[in-house]
């Protein structure tokens, strides 16, 4: 268990700066998820924490000790790789016990630790197998077992579930959540999948093009995104964004309708602003008297939900999600209203207005 501090960290490859101003304090026992689109630097950041990439600038500390110059093997952290990185010439038991073998640990202690980890992960029957004789899910478990046996200060996960099929991914996600509850260890988890981020994290760090966009609990990110990037990245389907202009006590949509603020009135609305509204927060109303009127373009029936793509007059396409089954047919006229308390407003740079 450990507390980790990232202080003003930057990463450069030659003259190219790929990360900057990374400031983050990870509490003891916290589950932190680094999330962002591909190329945002989340894996690089994790590898800097692991010690596999040098830190160009700034300071990284574990329990107050500076780690920048410390070799990975002396940082006492375990890592689960996307490709699992199992040693193909060693059987499952030796793979899991490799760190203890390296340290020259007592054979009996090693055996009991490996057996215990194998039992927790349901691998007892497979300990004599080579990795090539395992399925994807089993390999994933062995990789986790290898980390557990270490009993490290912190666990790092680099997109551990992205090579698994959808059903197995849900199962292993649950297993990782259980593992965290049981071990109460500090964990840093990298993913591009927002569902994994939202379900696993104590706090999520959203990264884009080498910058931290926002750090917060899953609900904070969903309800109070700091900017348009976070607003559109978190939540599925993606948040609708409309251009608006300021009006007396509210804002005016491009189709001329004015929506009043209630209850909170944000600071001054700039001349160029945008309104964000999540698909699940749009309400269907009678076409007469609704703030927006449009035609249902495509209707997707998912059973539990219905997704509707609406061509709104004077505004353009909007996405709407309604709970349950909605008996709507394509090309039907519908009206939409925007609940004032569900609106997100952004300025021209995409920063949230509060």
């Amino acid at each position: 268990m450990a507390r980790m501090d990232l202080r003003n960290i930057a990463k450069r490859y030659g003259p190219v700066e790929v990360m900057r101003n990374i400031d983050l304090a990870i509490e003891d026992g916290e589950f932190i998820v680094l999330v962002g689109p591909s190329g945002c630097g989340k894996s690089t950041l994790l590898r800097m924490i692991a010690g596999l990439e040098p830190i160009s600038e700034g300071e990284f500390l574990i329990d107050g000790q500076r780690m920048n110059e410390v070799a990975p093997r002396d940082r006492d952290i375990a890592m689960v790789f996307q490709s699992y990185a199992l040693y193909p010439h060693m059987d499952v038991a030796r793979n899991m016990g490799f760190s203890m073998e390296i340290r020259g640990a007592d054979a009996g202690e090693k055996q009991s630790k490996v057996a215990e980890a194998a039992r927790t992960l349901g691998l007892t029957a497979l300990t004599k197998r080579l990795p090539k004789a395992l399925s994807g899910g089993q390999r994933q478990r062995v990789a986790m077992g290898r980390a557990i046996v270490r009993d490290p200060k912190a666990f790092l996960f680099d997109e551990p579930l992205s090579n698994l099929d959808a059903a197995l991914r849900v199962e292993m996600r649950l297993e990782i959540a259980r593992l965290h509850q049981r071990l109460k260890a500090t964990m840093v988890y990298v993913t591009h999948d927002q569902v994994e981020a939202l379900t696993l994290a104590d706090r999520i760090v959203v990264l884009d093009s080498g910058n931290i966009q926002q750090v917060g609990t899953p609900l904070e990110l969903y309800e109070r995104p700091a900017n348009r990037f976070v607003a559109q990245f978190i939540g599925s389907p993606t948040m609708n964004v409309l251009d608006v202009t300021p009006a007396e006590g509210g804002i005016t949509l491009r189709n001329g309708t004015t929506i009043g603020f209630s209850p909170a009135v944000p600071a001054a609305i700039p001349a160029v602003a945008q309104l964000g509204i999540r698909p699940e927060h749009l309400d269907i109303a009678d076409p007469d008297g609704a703030s927006m009127v449009g035609v249902a373009d495509v209707v997707e029936h998912l059973g539990s939900d219905t997704n509707i793509y609406v061509q709104v007059e004077g505004i353009g396409p909007l996405m709407l999600r309604q709970h349950g089954h909605l008996p709507l047919r394509p090309n039907e006229r519908i009206g939409l209203t925007i609940p004032a308390d569900r609106m997100h407003l952004f300025d021209a740079e995409g920063i949230a207005l509060r």
Partner: protein
């Protein structure tokens, strides 16, 4: 008593034809080719060893095991056998170790890597005859620098002719052979090194392995299949490799650099005794077959990937 079903015999015959004979029909071209190119010459060659085939004394015919009995009591054969071991083991071990070292060096990142990689291959591209001559000159105490350098370093007492000293002469061709054989190991092992996933090293590093432990626990097991096969092939080649010795020392002085393959060559083409040369060749063949069998068993035991 049941009657035979109509067409039963024909059906059985067609079963026999389809599953037992027909496949060989399709394989026939390859089998004939292999037989014509490999098996027939081999059988003829082995059959010579049971005959007296001397061009200077025609009309020998079948002599049974006489050639082999001569071989058993031939002092030159045993000297050549011992020299073959020194020559092969001396060459292969240094070629392998230095080639592995070179491969590990080439597997790092540095400026001009591609150029160096292609330069490393050069000794392999030089005709053996030329490199043998060049090395013979390098060892020559009158025009070559090596004896003088060795003397200056205190390894030799005086700049003498190494290739003329029965105690040392075998090391002349061995050194030339090491120089000639390093690129082969360097290039093949480099290819094997590059196929090891980088993540395994990272995982091992995080698991706490030191550079030496990463080498012994990750690199070597991964290289093992390639090491087994290249060492086997090279051993067989080197044991049969007569060019360097033939050009540099011609087997002398006093047979001190005579190995089996040069002995076969001189017996066959200088003494023109093909029967006896075949007997030596069969002995060498049997030794190499035993060696290959041992190495293949070891490979199956040790290699898990």
């Amino acid at each position: 008593m049941s009657r035979k079903a109509p067409g039963e015999i024909r059906a059985r015959r067609s079963f026999y034809w389809r599953y037992v004979l027909e496949p060989y029909f399709y394989l026939a071209p390859a089998i004939l080719l292999i037989a014509g190119v490999m098996v027939v010459p081999l059988v003829i060659g082995i059959s010579y060893s049971f005959q007296s085939v001397r061009l200077l004394r025609p009309g020998g015919g079948f002599v049974g095991l006489e050639n082999y009995l001569d071989l058993w009591s031939d002092r030159k054969f045993w000297i050549a056998l011992e020299n073959t071991f020194v020559w092969t083991i001396g060459s292969i071990s240094f070629q392998f170790l230095l080639g592995l070292g070179l491969a590990l060096l080439l597997n790092t990142r540095f400026h001009g890597k591609r150029l160096i990689q292609s330069l490393v291959f050069l000794p392999w591209a030089v005709p053996t005859f030329l490199s043998a001559l060049a090395w013979a000159w390098l060892f020559n105490p009158t025009i070559g620098p090596l004896p003088h350098w060795l003397t200056a370093m205190g390894i030799l007492g005086e700049p003498q002719n190494i290739l003329g000293d029965p105690e040392l002469a075998i090391w002349g061709p061995i050194v030339a052979n090491i120089w000639f054989g390093i690129p082969f190991f360097a290039i093949t092992l480099l290819a094997a090194l590059q196929s090891i996933p980088a993540e395994l090293y990272e995982a091992a590093e995080i698991d706490g392995a030191s550079p030496w432990q990463r080498f012994t626990k990750i690199t070597l097991p991964f290289l093992a299949p390639m090491i087994a096969i290249t060492v086997m092939l090279r051993t067989i080649w080197i044991a049969n490799f007569a060019d360097l010795i033939f050009v540099m020392t011609g087997g002398g002085p006093a047979n001190s650099t005579q190995i089996l393959s040069t002995y076969i060559f001189t017996t066959a083409f200088k003494k023109l005794d093909f029967g006896y040369a075949s007997a030596i060749a069969v002995a060498l063949l049997i030794l190499l077959l035993i060696y290959a069998a041992i190495l293949l068993v070891l490979r199956r035991r040790l290699v898990k990937i």
